[in-house]
């Protein structure tokens, strides 16, 4: 099951994988900004979301990212979508066009708002899963550490955070393995993790969590001693084992995403004043 989990790193060698992690993180931030901005008019918003969606689909194909994980995410979002829709419909809006269900006014804007939220979340899921599926955890940590360098100047221990992050990422598979082993061991003792009354379920979870915590704590103790033995000092300046070569394509993509970043903000600010979509339509009149 965990092998299809959304965003698990898949070790291929595609252009997406070769792209520098720093560029990908910047791309993530700029795309998220672009996704979460409003551009003034409803059609324009949907056009821009659609363009981003198409771009992401292409990126997923190039980077061999599994569509299955993202599809699962949509399936899980159904319930939330209905919930958000209900909320938006019931909350009074400032007006605009509406249609009637019985005596109840349903504003189009509330439906649009729901769709925005769902689209935005969905696109965000796609973006993050592309990033994590094509970037190895080590590269990601390195990229984050590099991008957070400015914080070092105000005495934030960025290197330590990066180390904590790297260790946490390193131990996810180990803990998953531990969990699976324990689940199997407890299943052999007749624990049923899926069925049963609430009380039994709580009991079955305790049979998992207590041993898991105890082994995780023991592991972290051992790890701390091992690091100490190898002379780890959080304050020391560290060198990099893997040097990344910055290529021209990295520069080009960086510029591209900076343009998207700047462009989307500009469009959003101007979109508040002018209706670009209407102006576009007027051109053809």
């Amino acid at each position: 099951m965990r092998n299809f989990a959304m965003g698990r790193y898949r070790p291929y060698n595609t252009p997406m994988h070769r792209l520098d992690a720093r560029v990908k993180i910047i791309a993530l931030v700029s795309l998220m900004v672009a996704v979460f901005l409003g551009y003034g008019s409803v059609p324009l918003n949907f056009i821009i979301y659609g363009l981003i969606f198409l771009g992401l689909v292409v990126a997923m194909i190039i980077g061999k990212v599994s569509f299955l994980g993202v599809l699962r995410a949509i399936k899980a979002m159904w319930f939330m979508m209905i919930f958000i829709l209900l909320f938006n419909v019931l909350i009074p809006t400032k007006g605009g066009d509406y249609f009637l269900i019985g005596d109840f006014k349903v504003y189009y804007s509330s439906i649009y708002n729901t769709l925005y939220i769902v689209f935005r979340l969905f696109l965000m899921l796609m973006i993050t899963s592309i990033l994590t599926a094509t970037t190895s955890p080590m590269d990601m940590t390195f990229g984050l550490e590099f991008l957070l360098t400015p914080l070092k100047w105000i005495k934030v221990p960025v290197s330590s955070f990066a180390m904590i992050l790297a260790l946490a990422l390193r131990f996810i598979p180990t803990l998953t393995e531990d969990t699976e082993r324990l689940m199997r061991a407890q299943a052999s003792r007749g624990v049923d993790f899926k069925e049963g009354k609430l009380k039994e379920k709580i009991k079955s979870i305790t049979s998992l969590i207590i041993p898991l915590f105890s082994s995780a704590l023991m592991r972290s103790g051992d790890l701390a001693i091992a690091m100490e033995c190898r002379g780890y000092d959080p304050k020391a300046k560290r060198t990099k084992f893997r040097r990344k070569n910055w290529r021209i394509s990295d520069t080009l993509w960086l510029l591209f995403f900076l343009v998207i970043f700047g462009g989307s903000i500009a469009l959003a600010v101007l979109g508040g004043k002018y209706d670009f979509f209407q102006m576009f339509l007027d051109l053809f009149k």
Binding site: R181, Q186, R189, G190, V191
Partner: protein, 292 residues
Amino acid sequence: MPIKIENLFYDYNPNTPFVAHALKDINLEIGENYFYALIGETGSGKSTLVQHLNALLWPSKGTIRIDEHFIDGNNKKLQKKKKKGVKKLRSHVGLVFQFPEYQLFEKDVLKDVAFGPRNFGIKEEEAIQIAKDSLNLVGIDESYYNRAPFELSGGEKRRVAIAGIIALKPKILVLDEPTAGLDPLGEKEMMDLFLKIHQNGTNVILVTHNMDIVLKYAEKVIVMDKGEVKRFVTPLELFQDQEFLNTVAIEPPLVFKVARELIDNGLNLDLKNISDLPSLASEIAKSKGETK
């Protein structure tokens, strides 16, 4: 307790870049009243195979019959649906994992051992009684009953954990490297415990890397290599077949290692006559008499 495995295949991570073919066309028939060993290198599929025996893993292809229980890996519909009778099978085949001490979690020893039977619907009082019997069998006395499992020593924890499986009263007890990490004395005590359990009428399948244990305790031995069963013979037949041992990288027991060295250094011994220390000694004496 016959076990019959036919054309069993198992893949880890199917349809992903991480796919690994762990079991390839396993065919096995196991009779009744046995103490068998299952050996092979790390990654040869031993643990994968034993997990099939209580349906923790479901075959990608093939079937397993264990007494009245039947696991049908060819029926794809069954894989998705709730697997019926699995719970019953799990009390029928008790599986002791590697380092079983990690599965302890209750607030005292007695409760932890009674946890298994309680899951299979046995009443509290009866479960406690079974727990006491099981603890008695593994040599944990009354003074431990109310202690927290986490404050016991490594060997004691393991005994308690094994008692937790014995308390299920399985007909077949599968042990996955139960002596790993124990000192020689602890190892011997543990093995004598399993022999006692076996003599009380439980079938034992022992996964191990320790060939001295195989030679001393096992009636027959299943040899696995790269996901396939290579041999299913008595330990003597296995260890006398030096050519085969070389191909699967199994280190023979001490007696046979010594005999091998002696032969390589010019002593005229016949491996076929050697089964333990006394037979080795008499074989050496015989060859000395001949050379004189």
